[in-house]
């Protein structure tokens, strides 16, 4: 269970650092569009919104990226224009942390409960399985094998 938790955390960290730093203006514009909600399509990102207004805004973002604006500067400009709800992820400050940390808390809390359950209900934790088969078990096993082979 600990390995699973460590693996999950490691995978999350690796994924979070593996996002390529996009240099091309078109890539910056696509990345920004994927990370903001569309003011014109309910519940969709700007990237996914097919309205004409969304297309205009994507072109505006591309134009700013081609003028040398960084991703951070474009995001700030969009937030000033449309308000904080344009960001598609909760802020990593103040109450926004609740959104990020609660799922992690559930995983860790669930793992802790499962671990406690395993420890409590493990009848012989830490004991290696016996390699000795009793006589009655051996005879039962042979009977089952004979049945499987179709012999009496």
């Amino acid at each position: 269970m600990r390995r699973v938790a460590v693996f999950t955390l490691a995978a999350g960290l690796l994924l979070s650092v593996s996002t390529p730093a996009s240099a091309a203006p078109a890539d910056i514009a696509n990345s920004v569009a994927a990370d903001v909600m569309s003011p014109f399509c309910p519940g969709s990102t700007l990237h996914d919104c097919s309205s004409a207004e969304a297309q205009d805004l994507r072109e505006e973002i591309l134009a700013r990226a081609e003028n040398g604006w960084s991703r951070t500067r474009i995001m700030s400009w969009l937030e000033d224009e449309y308000g904080p709800s344009i960001r598609s992820t909760p802020a990593t400050e103040g109450a926004g942390w609740l959104a990020w940390l609660l799922p992690l808390a559930v995983v860790i809390g669930g793992a802790a409960v499962a671990w406690a359950f395993l420890r409590r209900s493990t009848s012989s934790s830490g004991v290696e399985p016996s390699t000795q088969v009793t006589r009655s078990e051996r005879s039962e096993l042979e009977r089952e094998l004979r049945t499987l082979r179709g012999r009496p």
Binding site: V4, A11, G12, P20, S44, S50, T134
Partner: protein, 662 residues
């Protein structure tokens, strides 16, 4: 015929109320004859719902615009197949369709359980008719599909063009089949709690229903993704939209249940957990229905929004509180009959699997409702989009892929650590080799590398299972490998059918991982110009215009070149629908196992100047191939007959001799 609809719904409601009373009396007095009368009333209620559905269908096909529903969702030019779709295209019709499935499934489940009528089936009848009464009351009140108009319009508004897609003919019915199908195991679980019959009878007698509902939901979700991919024009298939999430939530908990119930069958453990999971699954299915009808969250998929959402809240609360109060009441009787023997055991792997599935469900639920929670706490409306879900969900998903490979390798009860590492060696080597190979080939996305290597790990683990099974039949019966593998699959359909489903999941994960290498470009382009995307050159040759009865079709002609060679001609469209006065894009896709070239025309001027968005989506083809493999596995699972079903093991001693068995 339309005039029959309303009286038929009233009759259905009366028979449902009668059925509830009779089933309750049968349950309390333990009288199977009374319960049988109750089941007959359920059948009568279903028959009247069928009459109501036929009435609405007749009105839809006859274009009876005196009915508000018909005027809102059809038009004279709507093709016949989408007239059928309009039955569930609006809120009132979709609730009527839900009620049809509910009463139909209730009838099928209750009449096939004669031996249990005095017990489980009677209480299940109470639950199912109670739910049916709620939906019938909605149909006779705030969601009446038979409301008439004082002055009918000459033509209707027509169905939303987005819903006029072949996928939409089967996607919603499959989702509803999944949602409603879970009402049967839910009802039998509540019945087990109410009657005190807490052995395995409730889930054994509804196992096929659970599998059937899960299968329908799985296929429905994939078809929804395929619809989004081919219709919405943004190059993707899943946007973590609230309505998408609403269908995914019960799928996650139901998938957890399908795994953990094996532990109860084999080891008589996790009883509280299993009954809680199935209760939660149905509550989440109804919660999804509430989300799509309340309008409390913004969604591009909200085609059935109305003011009926508020009626779902007390219903949801009653189901949640009532069912979990029953669990609390019966807690002592739900204790495990066996204990876990070792941390390195298949039971532990199933527990880990369940922890991850439930954490995944919580993540999706939390992200979906967080905007409402935050607004209530701080007064500020925020958004939660794909970036949040991907960053939290992807690690959980990858851990689940790893457990899919680990699970089959471990024995039930216990396994020595040495044996465990020995069986892990092959799959771990395969995963490592794939990671190294892809790394050397220049792939730098850590997420994609992890996904591919874990898929290789799990694929080798699953292949080993088939190889071991096949070897037994080769040795024992002298069969060749194909026949031996076929025998392996068919002799234990549940186990190996499950493995086939897992192979399908691996292919889908490979398709998802391809998204890490997606390329896209958008460009305003005049006839004769070209644009570049990935390794492709798109030569825009111009557009043509034609008209059908329902729309003006504007089709671009785009020649696709790769390395200077023409490889395809694509014709994305930008169409104007007359009835809805809406412009809608139709995507053009060139799909291959390596990558999809996806072109959408987002605007078209009178002089032929167009704006094209083009995407290169690597490996997306494998998502649909994986879904097909998954469907094949599901077919194997569903083909399991009673005779070939794995029997519930007899009660075991609390402590048994330690023997490593796999």
């Amino acid at each position: 015929m339309a005039g029959l609809g309303h009286p038929a719904l009233i009759a259905a409601l009366l028979f449902a109320a009668l059925a509830l009373g009779l089933c309750l009396a049968g349950a309390l007095r333990k009288r199977s004859d009374i319960t049988e009368a109750g089941v007959r009333a359920v059948v009568a209620s279903f028959a009247f719902v069928v009459v109501a559905v036929l009435s609405l269908l007749t009105a839809l096909f006859a274009r009876d615009f005196s009915l508000e529903y018909v005027a809102n969702y059809t038009s004279e030019s709507l093709p016949a197949v989408y007239t059928l779709t309009s039955l569930w295209g609006g809120m009132e019709g979709s609730l009527l369709f839900w009620t049809l499935l509910l009463t139909g499934f209730s009838t099928a489940a209750l009449i096939r359980a004669p031996a249990q009528r005095a017990g489980l089936a009677a209480w299940a009848g109470v639950v199912l008719t109670g739910v049916a009464i709620f939906f019938l009351a909605l149909l006779l009140g705030p969601a009446d599909p038979f409301t008439t108009l004082a002055s009918p319009p000459p033509d209707g508004s027509g169905l939303n063009p987005l819903l006029q897609s072949p996928g939409m003919v089967i996607h919603p019915p499959l989702l509803y089949t999944g949602f409603v199908g879970f009402s049967i195991p839910f009802a039998f679980a509540v019945a087990a709690l109410a009657s005190g019959r807490l052995d395995e009878a409730w889930f054994v007698s509804t196992r096929r229903w659970t599998l059937f509902a899960w299968s329908a939901l799985s296929v429905g979700i994939v078809l929804g993704g395929a619809w989004a991919y081919t219709e919405l024009g943004w190059g993707g298939y899943w946007a973590w939209d609230p309505v998408e999430n609403a269908s995914f939530l019960p799928w996650l908990t139901a998938t957890a249940f399908l795994h953990s119930v094996v532990v109860q069958e084999k080891r008589r453990m996790l009883k509280v957990w299993n009954v809680s999971l199935i209760l939660l699954t149905y509550v989440l299915a109804v919660f999804g229905t509430f989300l799509t009808r309340s309008g409390i969250l913004s969604s591009i998929h909200t085609f059935t929004e109305g003011d009926t959402g508020k009626w779902f809240l007390p219903f949801l609360a009653a189901m949640l509180l009532g069912s979990f109060a029953l669990v609390a009441w019966r807690l002592d009787s739900l204790r495990s009959e066996n204990r876990l023997d070792s941390l390195v055991s298949r039971e532990s792997a199933f527990l880990g699997n369940n922890l991850l599935f439930v954490a995944a469900a919580f993540t999706v639920l939390w992200g979906t409702i967080y905007p409402i929670v935050n607004e209530a706490l701080t007064g500020v409306r925020v958004s939660v989009g794909p970036a949040f879900f991907n960053s939290v969900f992807v690690p959980i998903g990858l851990a689940l892929v790893a457990l899919t490979g680990i699970g089959p390798l471990i024995s039930w009860r216990r396994m020595s650590k040495g044996s465990f590492w020995r069986v892990l060696r092959g799959p771990v080597s395969a995963g490592g080799l794939v990671a190294i190979g892809l790394g050397l080939a220049g792939i730098r996305s850590v997420g994609a590398l992890l996904a591919f290597s874990l898929c290789a790990f799990t694929a080798v683990s699953l292949a080993g299972e088939f190889a071991r099974g096949g070897r037994v039949y080769r040795t024992r019966e002298g069969l060749g490998w194909p026949a031996a593998l076929r025998r392996t699959l068919l002799r234990n359909r549940r186990r190996y059918g499950g493995y086939v489903v897992h192979v399908g999941i691996l292919l889908i994960v490979i398709g998802f991982a391809g998204a890490a290498f997606r390329t896209e470009r958008q460009q305003e382009i005049r006839p004769g110009d070209t644009m570049e995307v990935g390794a492709y050159t798109l030569a825009y040759e111009g557009s043509t215009r034609s008209e059908t009865e329902e729309k003006q079709v504007n089709a671009a002609r785009v020649e696709v070149l790769r390395d200077g060679q023409a490889v395809a001609t694509l014709r994305p469209q930008r169409n104007f629908h007359f009835a809805q006065q809406q412009t809608q894009s139709e995507v053009a896709i060139r799909s291959t196992p390596v990558e999809d070239l996806y072109v959408v025309m987002t605007s078209l001027d009178a002089d032929g100047t167009a704006v094209l968005r083009a995407f290169v989506n690597p490996l997306t083809w494998w998502i649909w191939m994986g879904a097909a493999v998954m469907a094949a596995g599901i077919a194997v699972l569903l083909s399991e007959t009673k005779g070939s079903a794995v029997r519930v093991t007899a009660p075991q001693r609390r402590r048994e001799p330690a023997v490593a068995t796999r």
